[in-house]
């Protein structure tokens, strides 16, 4: 029985030595975490979330920039469309047309300039609202990136303190 106990004790000791090989004997860092303090894992999670947020931001900004380009282009197209309609309507009313031209004028006159302008105005008003919203969002991002960076650095300091490296 005594031999058995000694054998088991030796096995336990050898396991201990195995782990001890992986750990530097001094200094032995131990997390100083009380129940009221955040754990290393909690801090690491927040740092990761903040860094991911920052890393994804450039692509989000690029996407907004592409939306701005597309909307500016749409706005110009809307006015060009109305200009084209006006010019063609004028040509229809002044030139002596026959055949294909007369036929096209007849079809074009069926569409109402007022309705066309109203629809384009709605598009532009919506686009203006959208761009205004996006601009507010971008300004808000600009206001908070420095805070997020500082927050990451502070949490990293806390992390180092908890790890006993400073």
């Amino acid at each position: 029985m005594t031999k058995k106990i000694l054998l088991i004790s030796l096995v336990a000791l050898s396991t201990n030595i195995g782990y001890a090989d992986q750990t530097p004997s001094k200094p032995s860092p131990k997390p100083v975490v009380s129940s009221s303090e955040p754990t290393l894992e909690e801090i690491d999670k927040r740092i990761t979330v903040a860094k991911d947020y920052l890393k994804k931001l450039p692509e989000r900004i690029s996407s907004t920039q592409r939306e701005f380009e597309a909307l500016a282009e749409k706005g110009n197209q809307a006015t060009e469309m109305v200009k084209r309609y006006l010019t063609f309507s004028k040509q229809c009313s002044t030139a002596e047309l026959s055949g294909i031209g007369e036929d096209m004028c007849r079809y074009a006159s069926k569409s109402d300039l007022g309705t066309l302008i109203k629809s384009k105005k709605n598009q532009l008003t919506n686009a203006i609202g959208f761009v205004n919203g996006k601009l507010k969002g971008l300004q808000s991002e600009l206001d908070k990136t420095d805070t997020i960076r500082d927050g990451i650095k502070v949490l990293e300091d806390v992390q180092k303190i908890l790890m006993g490296t400073i």
């Binding site: 106990i5 782990y19 900004i61 105005k121 761009v131 600009l142 960076r149 650095k153």
Partner: protein, 142 residues
């Protein structure tokens, strides 16, 4: 004797478990430490480049907004101002004439038309242009 052995065994067991937990935690902490050190260097650069991109995007957004507002004002004026409609048609006519002239010059350079054909066309355009310009001063008042 039996009881004492059991106590010794329990102590060894506990020591072994505590040590194992410490080793796992240390490995985790070492990895975290490395990650923190590497990424902190890049963080400032990342945030500065984001701020530059944001500033540029805000500027682009403001330009887009201005352009959209101008287009909206343009449409509202077309809707309500008959003279302005005429002005837009005339200005569009001038734009087309200028484009026609530049195409005629290109065709002449490429010898796809003769000098005579080019001159006749440009003269015709010039007379149309003078009519348009005259009317523009009439209709395109601010």
């Amino acid at each position: 004797m039996k009881k004492r052995n059991l106590i010794v065994l329990a102590i060894f067991g506990c020591l072994s478990m505590v040590s194992a937990t410490d080793a796992v935690n240390l490995e985790q902490y070492t990895q975290m430490k490395k990650k923190v050190e590497v990424e902190t260097d890049d963080l400032d650069k990342l945030v500065i480049s984001i701020n530059i991109q944001l500033t540029s995007a805000i500027s682009q957004g403001e330009k887009t907004l201005k352009s959209l507002e101008e287009n909206l004002i343009f449409l509202k004026r077309i809707e309500s101002d008959e003279d302005f409609r005429e002005c837009v048609i005339l200005q569009d006519g001038i734009k087309r004439l200028n484009y026609s002239k530049s195409v005629a010059n290109e065709l002449l350079e490429e010898k796809k038309i003769t000098q005579k054909q080019h001159d006749e066309f440009v003269d015709k355009q010039a007379s149309r242009e003078s009519v348009l310009t005259k009317n523009i001063t009439k209709y395109c008042k601010k």
